[in-house]
């Protein structure tokens, strides 16, 4: 029999086949379909959706920047 593991779905525990995620260890998050773990969740990538949004918003502010710069007074102590 292939490797099985107990996976909690918000508290509901199910016996899940881990044959396709040999690297999965206790405490890992996995994506499950039809009783099989298909992939381990990459926690380093989990915030990507928010980081991308920050970049998109920053890009927008940058686009609006030139007008604001033109009106801004010179920075004090600026040695040019």
């Amino acid at each position: 029999m292939s490797r099985m593991g107990r996976v909690s779905f918000g508290g509901v525990i199910k016996e899940i086949c881990l044959a396709y995620v040999p690297e999965a260890r206790e405490g890992d998050w996995v994506v499950v379909h039809a009783g099989f773990a298909l992939d381990k969740l990459d926690e380093a990538e989990a915030l990507q959706v928010f980081e991308y949004l920050e970049q998109v918003d920053a890009l927008n502010e940058l686009d609006e920047q030139p007008e604001r710069d033109a009106a801004a007074p010179p920075v004090e102590g600026d040695e040019r």
Binding site: Y20, H33, L38, D39, F50
Partner: protein, 369 residues
């Protein structure tokens, strides 16, 4: 982190919607492939957050919906035979065949059971060596590794009373069929995250190049979908047609290699009939010759069964993104989830069921004017 609720944050969703509005200069039509994404879009009203220039159309990625009537008739014929335990995912049971569905076989005394996993069906076969246990193996690439493992284990353990009725389909040939149709109006795709979790996304790169369409591998939560749409629109506005990965917390470019290996060992690529769409060459999976003894169509000799679609159901047009559910005259009247004419009204991933559940009133107003 619980990796779920975070991706439903309303403030971040509004910011994404605003960002999409800022970059949209022209009208664009984008298709989401996966029925799970269709449901999330309709349920959370993602389409209503978008600027009017962006049209989302719903694709053929509902496995229950594209399973041909003929296969359901075969399932019914097998399930009615004495000594058979017929197992299936639950949402397949109410899909109408030509004259009956699996639930009505059960009501008439047939042993039809909903299971969570094909391994549960295999376990039933081990527990009932005097019975024939058949599993209805439908689905896209996401489900293929599970079904491959069930057959592989059956062979390994010598469980001879277990077979699969296979109706597996593949996403890239369906995308190509949609893109090569003369009436196609899709300009960009949200590729299905969980299919790509298994298969990776290298297969999509030649398609994106050949048809000049951007494709973004996308997850299933509201922020995933909004980011995926943003990435597609940005490519369209910049004149790019690349494959990008929004769902990087789950999907890697190469996909899941152990899963791909077992699928390649147990199955081989075959032509498949798609319900409402027709025959697409090399668009599905059948059991490889070494596993032919686990093929229910051979064991039960149902190959002579053929069937016709319901004339009234327009699910073929729905599945190709050519019509919206409310444009069907039967929607919500002669066709409801309780009495469906076609599979798109039955499945939890079907577009018609999604609109019936979340948008019935709006759909009615659109029709009534």
């Amino acid at each position: 982190m619980k990796y779920l609720e975070e991706y439903r944050d309303a403030d971040a969703a509004r910011r994404y919607a605003e960002a999409i509005r800022r970059i949209t200069q022209q009208p664009w039509t984008i298709m989401e492939i996966c029925g799970g994404q269709t449901h999330a879009i309709v349920r959370y009203g993602i389409d209503e957050l978008l600027p009017p220039e962006i049209t989302l159309v719903h694709g053929p990625g509902c496995p229950v919906c594209v399973t041909p009537v003929e296969l359901i008739d075969k399932a019914v014929a097998i399930a009615m035979q004495p000594g058979v335990i017929f197992t299936s995912f639950g949402d397949m049971l109410r899909v109408p065949g030509s004259s009956a569905d699996l639930l009505s076989v059960k009501a008439a005394g047939g042993d039809v059971r909903a299971v969570y996993s094909p391994l549960d069906a295999l376990k039933l076969a081990s527990q009932h060596p005097d019975r024939q246990v058949v599993f209805f193996a439908i689905g896209f690439e996401t489900t293929a590794p599970a079904n491959a493992m069930a057959v592989y284990q059956a062979k390994l353990q010598g469980v001879a009373n277990f077979t699969l009725l296979v109706s597996h389909v593949l996403v890239p040939p369906a995308i190509e069929a949609i893109l090569s149709a003369p009436e196609c109006r899709v300009q960009g795709f949200l590729a299905a995250g969980h299919v790509c979790a298994v298969m990776g996304y290298e297969q999509y790169e030649p398609l994106a190049r050949k048809y000049s369409v951007p494709m973004v591998v996308t997850g299933f939560e509201p922020l995933d979908l909004l980011q995926g749409i943003y990435m597609v629109v940005r490519q369209l506005e910049e004149g790019r047609a690349e494959v990008e990965n929004q769902y990087s917390r789950v999907v890697r470019r190469e996909g899941n290699l152990p899963a791909q290996q077992l699928v390649a060992q147990v199955f081989r690529v075959v032509d498949r009939q798609w319900r409402g769409v027709g025959r697409i060459p090399a668009s599905g999976l059948g059991l490889a010759p070494e596993y032919a003894q686990y093929d229910a169509e051979r064991r039960f000799d149902v190959s002579a069964i053929s069937a016709q679609e319901s004339a009234e159901c327009i699910s073929g047009l729905i599945l190709q993104g050519l019509r919206k559910p409310w444009e069907c005259p039967a929607f919500g009247s002669r066709c409801t989830p309780e009495h469906p004419l076609g599979a798109t009204m039955v499945s939890s991933e079907g577009a018609c069921a999604a609109y019936y559940r979340y948008r019935r009133q709006a759909a009615k107003e659109a029709v009534d004017g």
